[in-house]
């Protein structure tokens, strides 16, 4: 099977799953749209619980284990609970990160202008694992000793230490060792936060926190799990014994069984090769990046609406360079531009365009389609459909057009539609306009659907003309697997428009 076909299938399966989850959670609260934000939320839980745990932690080989035991058993109602929350939130963070990665991968949201987010995301996973492993060492139980030994074994294979680390952990380590563990366990989250910042650096209005309801639900679920199975330590570290079994945390130790199968150097080779392979995923395959947006300087007023609407901070303003009246002019950073056309939808001055699909092209197409439908002589209720390419597969436009009295235009993103474009078919005699875009919280270009809805409601510039009847406009936000429903939605909308028209006629 061709690679593209596999990706399409994966995307469809994922979309079906999202669709089913929408039925339960509603699109606003569907956790499948919030995996990235859930990662942030898990991190906040880890920081908060970690601070409390640290207050009671003894940084010494002699008493580290006892201090954790005190928290777990003597203070089970708070310290023990927070320890369990810390444990499960850390595993939840890995799970959410993996699911977020899968989501990004199957939806193809990792290439071109998104490469920074992908690369920092991969680095985040490794920092996360290092942080987690050092967290386990702090407990200084059997598992901690196991992790210390295997980590030392791995690191001793690299020519970076003058004396083997394993030497330091052959006998009971000094307190200094615990200070180092603590330092690394505290320092890695700082690097993680820096990586998080870089991860979202090219995103305008990055969604850091999931909706409140989802946060409460996640905390509730973590508390339930913590009460069902509180996190406990194993027997204290005993350097005179190899543990018979270790309580493996597969979220952080998934690669350690490799040490049983292949030599240590080969484990490094596997880890490095796999990491590099994943890191460079955005650059595999043929580039199909479209031409970036271009500013038409004679029309640009420097109003900054395109800057506000660009989801990837690809548009910025600079002082006027052509001596015209306005103080600022827009500039497009070509490497960041997603060619989504949201800036075209935001511009009321015909000052920014996609070279392969200009505003004039779109308006001309709308006129042509409108005239064709009107000339067909059909007397049924007429609807013009604007479709976004990402949530509407190419074939669907043809199916829609098969319906009589329906005109259809596919665009890179819903956000490319200007209210003035929606007015054209209505002025040409169409009864209604239907805009089909990506599901709420799942716009392929992040905010295209949200911006257009806001423009039509008059909450965002450029606003819809007041004399346009809002009831003749309908939004249908869905994923591509809901397109059977979409066809019936068109029929339902036409029926509503027909009844409205009849009522108006009756009223007159």
């Amino acid at each position: 099977m061709e690679q593209g076909m596999i990706m399409q299938k994966l995307h469809r399966w994922w979309s079906w799953l999202e669709f089913d989850m929408n039925k339960i959670f509603t699109p606003r609260l569907n956790p499948m749209y919030w995996f990235g934000s859930i990662c942030f939320f898990m991190t906040w839980i880890l920081v908060a619980t970690g601070i409390y745990l640290f207050l009671f932690y003894d940084i010494s080989a002699r008493t580290a284990y006892q201090s954790v035991e005190y928290l777990t058993h003597d203070q089970w109602y708070l310290g023990g609970l927070l320890r369990s929350l810390h444990r499960y939130a850390s595993a939840g963070l890995v799970l959410a990160t993996v699911l977020h990665t899968i989501h990004v991968f199957v939806t193809g949201r990792y290439r071109y202008w998104r490469w920074i987010a992908w690369v920092t995301g991969v680095a985040t996973i490794w920092f996360l694992i290092v942080c987690g492993l050092f967290g386990y060492m702090m407990v200084w139980d059997e598992l901690a000793l196991f992790i210390t030994w295997v980590s030392a074994l791995l690191l001793d294979n690299l020519p970076i230490f003058s004396k083997p680390l394993s030497f330091a952990y052959a006998q009971m380590p000094s307190n200094f060792f615990f200070y180092i563990i603590l330092f690394i366990h505290f320092a890695t989250p700082v690097f993680l936060l820096i990586l998080f910042m870089l991860h979202v650096i090219r995103m305008r209005n990055a969604k850091i926190n999931p909706p409140k309801e989802l946060m409460y639900a996640i905390v509730a679920v973590l508390v339930i799990v913590s009460l069902i199975r509180p996190a406990v330590s194993g027997p204290p570290a005993d350097l005179s014994k190899l543990p018979a079994t270790v309580q493996f945390d597969w979220f952080y130790m998934f690669f350690l069984p490799l040490l049983q199968m292949i030599p240590v150097w080969a484990v490094w080779v596997v880890l490095v090769v796999v990491s590099f392979f994943i890191t460079f995923v955005p650059w595999y395959g043929k580039s199909r990046k479209k031409a970036p947006a271009e500013v038409i300087y004679e029309n640009c007023t420097g109003c900054e609406q395109c800057v506000k609407d660009c989801p990837y901070e690809a548009v910025f303003v600079r002082p006027r360079s052509d001596g015209r009246n306005w103080p600022l002019e827009a500039v497009v950073d070509k490497s960041r531009c997603a060619s989504c056309g949201i800036c075209v939808g935001a511009c009321d001055y015909k000052a920014i365009d996609l070279p392969f699909l200009t505003e004039a092209d779109i308006k001309q197409k709308i006129l042509t389609i409108s005239k064709t439908v009107m000339a067909s002589g059909d007397t049924g209720t007429k609807v013009f459909v604007f479709m976004c390419e990402n949530s509407n597969p190419a074939g669907i436009c043809h199916k829609v057009e098969c319906k009589t009295s329906v005109g259809c235009l596919r665009l890179p993103c819903m956000g490319m539609v200007q209210p003035s474009m929606m007015a054209i078919p209505l002025l040409e005699g169409f009864d209604g306009v239907l805009v089909s875009g990506c599901q709420v919280n799942d716009c392929h270009y992040r905010y295209g659907n949200v911006h257009l809805v806001a423009r039509v409601k008059g909450e965002r510039k450029p606003v819809m003309r007041k004399n346009i009847d809002q009831e003749r406009i309908r939004f249908y936000l869905s994923s591509e697997v809901q397109k059977t429903d979409f066809l019936s939605e068109i029929d339902a909308f036409r029926e509503e428009l027909r009844q409205k028209k009849n009522a108006e006629k009756g009223g007159n």
Partner: protein, 195 residues
Amino acid sequence: MMNKVNWVAGIIILLLPALFVMKYTAVPYPFYAADVAVLKIAFQHTGQRVKEYDEIGSLRERAKKYREELKKNKEIKMNLTSKQSTTRERFPVEVELFIDGKSLQKKKYQPAGRQKDAVSVIYDAFEISPGKHRVKVIMTDSAKEGTIPYTFEDTVEFGSREVKVLTFDKVKNKLLWSENLIPILQRPEYANAES
């Protein structure tokens, strides 16, 4: 808006990954086989100097020269890092391990430092079968003729997955089994004393 049924269903669905997390954060995993015991040799030891070198005497002599030079020329600086006439180099420490009379490894551990004048770090771990074994270690810290090596010999029972660490006690100046494998508070004698 979510209704009550959706809330309950939502919590149940969120519980699924949480239960998955709960299950896979602590899964007993047999990493080490039962038919293995480990003998570790772990200590630091400084080999003898390749050439006899009186470091304090040498410094005194250089300081004396410096004072004399200072009387003649007031701008002279004492250079303690200049190459010395006598080498500070030490011999590597050689350790040979015999298990049940068979030589398992003979290895030289080079001294640390740019001038090879610091301590040698000896660390190696050997997997052996559990049971009674005759362990013999010969350690030499000088290649000079007539040097008497340190010798350790003991018949010892290795339990399944047991780890024994052979170390060097600087005070007693001999090789011996390490007792520093469990924190003091967790050692049986301490626990008994507490009770």
